[in-house]
Amino acid sequence: MTMLPAAHADSFHVVHLPAADDFDFWRDCARALIQAQVPPDRISWIEPGGSGDLFAQGDHGVPALTSGAPPVRANRRFVNLARNAALHSDPERFALLYRLLWRLQENPGMMEDKADDDVRKIEELDKNVRRDSHKMHAFVRFRLVEADEAEGGDRYVAWFEPDHHILRANAGFFMRRFANMRWSILTPRGSLHWDGETMAEGPAAERSDAPQGDPMEDLWRTYYASIFNPARLKIGAMLKEMPKKYWKNMPEAALIPELVAGAQSREAKMVEKGALEFDERPETLAAIDKAISACRKCPIGLLDNHAVMGEGPQDAALMIVGEQPGDQEDIKGRPFVGPAGQLLDDHLRTAGIDRSAAYVTNAVKHFKYVQRGKRRIHQSPAAKEIDTCRWWMESERAIVQPKLVLAMGASAARGMLGKTVSISNARGAPIQLEDGSELWVTAHPSYLLRLDGAARDEQVRLFDNDLRAVRQRLDEIAQRA
């Protein structure tokens, strides 16, 4: 960029600003300096309390405005940005503004060039100041100081620590909002006082000048803690918008660590409390049958399906428990009538167990599936769902009172025991149940259907062994009786 011929290029100007946020003063000075064609590197801008450029020896003040000189050009975009950026605490801000104004004279459209370093810098300053103002609007917390009418009545006082010189610029916001209230905002950079009619400025304050509490804060903290949803912890999102530096002046922020720590246990409690809420145990199998078709205590009950009740004699010595009804069972409304049921029937016959003498049921009463086109694909029930449905199987068992329960598959075992066991560890030996009956665990017949070759042969052998052992125990129990 070619520089304008500089009349004052050899002189150095030191400008002392009367206040850190005095944009109008800067504008007047800048206008005169541009007209006198003083280049940016020949000026030092010093705000109150600032040291400025150590090597700035010049003592030239601001040249007087000359009447014949060309007018200084600045577009609205620049003025708006500059007015806000001037409030930033960056000591270089006035130099930056002048540099931009200087360049604008040559290139009036340069503010649109967002990739330019100076333009980006002023936008950055403007953004920081706007954010600081916005946070001031949000995080100022007034505390009530009660006073008699004689002293002017109640006053609301706040202590706030802004990052930039934004106090005066935001007086209007609080005045418009609380026009009919007496209030003061105290900051380390100065204070504001509104009495309902006039605004007064005061000196810098300290935190101890502000009241230390307000009786409403208990209610506010209660609100803050209650409106927070512990099921959705997003601490990062909170910190991004409400950085820790603001916390010390916000009464509710003291609760945050506690709320975060308690969130997980609160959610767990919410889920636990919500899970089980059953009425009294039904006393007959027919009552269970009726109740399960209305059961919506887990999401499986919401699918398009029918509850499938267990079947068999009410005094059966053997209770056989599967996982859940499948597609066929759901349609026919009877347990173990699909492919796995047929396989089970074959193996029971081989082992010499009479299915019609056993009570056959499932750990979960509804068919859980996902729809794939026209087909409903089986889904294993979740542990939570099995635990929820356990209520029904226990009710059945309380009525049938079998001597021996055969649980087929991990879901059935969980339904019986309330915890997950490994089939390979649990099979082959009885597990004593609390009521004196015994539980045998084996694989689910549908597992056999999914295997091939040697693996299948091995599992079929184990399955038959289990059934034979059950048969043997049943005989022993029958003899004892």
Binding site: I227, R232, K234, Q264, M270, K273
Partner: protein, 414 residues
Amino acid sequence: MASASTLQKLEILADAAKYDASCASSGTSKRNSVGGKGIGSTEGMGICHAYAPDGRCISLLKILLTNYCVFDCHYCINRKSSNVARARFTPQEVVDLTLAFYRRNYIEGLFLSSGIVKSSNHTMEQLVEVARILREEHDFRGYIHLKTIPEADAEIVHQAGLYADRVSINVELPTDSGLTRLAPDKNSGQIEGAMGKVTSDIAELKDARKKFKHAPRYAPAGQSTQMIVGADTATDSDIVGKASRLYDSFKLRRVYYSAFSPIPDASAVLPLKRPPLIREHRLYQSDWLMRFYGYKPAEVMQATEADGNLPLDIDPKLAWALKFREQFPVDVNRATKEQLLRVPGLGVKAVHKILASRRHRTLRLDDVARLTLSITKVRPFICTVDWRPLLLTDRADLRTMLAPKTEQLELFSA
């Protein structure tokens, strides 16, 4: 000042209100308390006065007038059959609380909802009464959002709009079948009928204001609604479709999504597992695409995967771009605004900056990098004078390259 019973009631009734996602206080008419008798101002932009650890903004005092309810909606903590603690505020108590909070600069205003007590009309009258006392007796000029009860008489609902900045009616669930199943007392026809009535009231009084200076303002911040995500089987496609129909037919300001979260004493028809929070986030992103990026609902649906849901690992805009790679790369020095808005990683602001800057210089990759947050995300989809992605957009593993590397951990997985 705060009696124990007020504390307890506030605890119960704020707790019960937290499942409403909206806390917006923006977009209403500009006004302030200068020249009035009371307090309050609205200056266009909403203000979040605090943030809770769930990342949500606290802008309004969001409470229920009461959580007693005669309805039995399964997803709702306040349903008749739930045994949560119950409480009830009188309208005057809510007014006092709102003013006390407002004076201390805790809030922008009030968001009042309620369980249904006695009758829908009675409840609606009580809600309107709170707004009336605030506006007429205290000259309160802050923000008021009233939840409207679709079953109440049109005349009372109309009153609500005269006092409130925003009124809202929740559609609750994206599908009619979900509503029938989970909210047996509600009826989608009635809900949409009530929304339609509010829409026409807003339009009518807006029109009247053009002719008569003193015609009353009616819900200047418009109406919004909320849908619960993850409580029924609706896919993201269904939800986006429903939302866009609602935007079109009722001129809604916003459709809020609330990921169903396990609620204490939940009805067991609900899944106990929550849908990943990220799903709600993706839906909001798709909402943004429709509202600010010029995507049509059908185009958002194109970004969904085979199961009708938006991918969780990448945002919907990137998902769309990966599916329609023939549209890329886009030349940042020549492309239209519409084309630039489709580039993953370029937001509305960045696009405006590019459009403004390129009048002054021919953009190089470095220039674009200065105008965006992450050039790596943008790079495969653009060309500049000194950059051409060559085969990048044809790479099969582009998705893996661009998807965020870290996975969201399931905090509460068992």
